[in-house]
Symmetry: C2
Subunit: 302 residues, 2 copies
């Protein structure tokens, strides 16, 4: 699993920085999380294949998180996409997109499946062979969700050296061994699975939380995730403004990371008022050590 | 009058090029013509003041000509704009914008005046002290207009040296002299205006024609303009495709320029299929000599 930042700044535009948008790469599939204006330009720039995106997740309906979506979906049409796209977003986006497709006479030539979200409780919204996605209810000035992506338990790896010692174990048995089953010989003798296989890498997990007020009740849900992206629009010096606009400070994001005992925290959604983004790191590090800042084009191994 | 290109490419996104959008600078005022995705990023990059834009003109409702508008209008709100904005656009855009403002709970805190266009005949849609704007009806796959911006006749410049020879001409008389009136002395003697003033620079004019099929009936309206921006999505090798998709070739754009006897032609709206944009110039030059190509960040003196 790998996170690629396309944009990570708050709404006010600045030269050469982009609003929220990111790609989560998981088993050679790309999940698009938020789609601020210009995201398709960024996709091209960082050479992500448009065609590998099948699932899109929009956190909330403020423009800096979705104004790039309609252009991206229109481009997929131009590129002759056939495969379906699943769009998970708050109620309202479907109406916006459909009106734009109607007025622009854009005939979307691939199945676009809308999954409209309105619950205030965590929901399992997607389950594939390889991973699951849950909503993380957030509190912002408008209905908002974060997303928790969890890899599923992988199959065990065969220890071929060990298996070779038992000629009676044929290839036909490998599938069950990978699933963790012991091998039962014809004479009834049991060879324990742990002797024949190696545990798979631990399943990884990623949590995206933007935009939100400081909301400690998400800690339980995101406990122990490998990577947490949490918004930090402000610094503590502007804590009142953060509360008023329902955003978080770097310190608050770090507090969530510490309580949830995540492996690593990445900060993003920076307000344009601060001259230097390293200030966010400095503030967060007073609470939580393993912290980094998002930047256009930067990638993070989960 | 000066034209600044923010974006000049057709819909398929490429790295670091932008769809149609441009700024016409006229008497220290900025007219925004089309607003493809990312235009506000380009505005910042090329240091155009957001606040100087009061009039916006959208040619047609294909996404590559207006998907950047809603973000720009939202940003003006964040910047605390008070002054009004006039938006000239085909019927349909008002509904799209109002739905997005409603769903995103964006309270536009400045007067946004919609001028919805639906006529198929040229219309005078704006007249200020300094300039006029007319629609140029085009033919595309969807209702489309070009725009013709004409400076008004300026006041004549005083020839102070000449005036000084006549002590009876006081400052009180200057206003009428600038307007071209002769000076009448107390004794009834007439001093001709041409002796006292210098003609002002000739009023300049600019025509924007994108997107459109080859449409020679626009020639009469844009006759003798100083600068013509005409789309040339294709080259003559793809002429059939141009006709089918209701676009123009470089040669067709040059033919319009030649017939209209414009001073200079700028080509834009290039398809991504061609490796080298100089091919457009080469083709156009076979018909019309004074031709250049648009490029992000390039400016043209009108």
């Amino acid at each position: 699993m790998k996170l690629h930042i396309l944009g990570c700044h708050s709404a006010t535009p600045r030269s050469l920085v982009f609003p929220s948008s990111q790609i989560l790469e998981i088993n050679n599939e790309l999940l698009l999380i938020d789609a601020g204006e210009g995201m398709q330009i960024q996709l091209r720039k960082y050479k992500h294949k448009f065609n590998k995106i099948k699932y899109i997740f929009i956190s909330h309906l403020h423009g800096d998180h979705f104004y790039g979506l309609v252009g991206f979906l229109s481009t997929l049409r131009l590129l002759g996409r056939g495969k379906e796209i699943h769009l998970f977003a708050p109620v309202g986006l479907k109406e916006i997109l459909q009106l734009q497709f109607k007025v622009t006479q854009t005939d979307i030539n691939y199945p676009l499946v809308y999954h409209e979200l309105s619950s205030n409780k965590p929901e399992l919204i997607l389950e594939t062979d390889k991973f699951t996605v849950e909503t993380i209810p957030l509190i912002h000035r408008i209905y908002a969700n974060g997303y928790l992506v969890k890899e599923k338990e992988k199959l065990r790896n065969l220890n071929i050296e060990a298996i070779k010692k038992y000629p009676e174990i044929g290839i036909w048995a490998y599938h069950n061994l990978k699933k963790g089953k012991d091998f039962v010989c014809e004479n009834g003798k049991i060879i324990p699975n742990t002797e024949l296989t190696i545990p798979p890498p631990r399943p990884k997990s990623y949590a995206y939380c933007s935009d939100t007020i400081y909301k400690p009740d998400i800690v339980e849900q995101i406990k122990n995730v490998d990577l947490l992206y949490h918004e930090s629009t402000f610094l503590e010096t502007d804590k009142e403004l953060a509360t008023k606009t329902k955003h978080s400070t770097a310190k608050q994001a770090a507090t969530i990371a510490k309580m949830a005992q995540v492996n690593k925290l990445v900060l993003g959604h920076f307000s344009s008022r601060y001259p230097n983004e390293n200030l966010f790191i400095k503030e967060a590090k007073t609470i939580f050590e393993n912290v980094d800042i998002a930047r256009e084009g930067k990638s993070f191994e989960v």
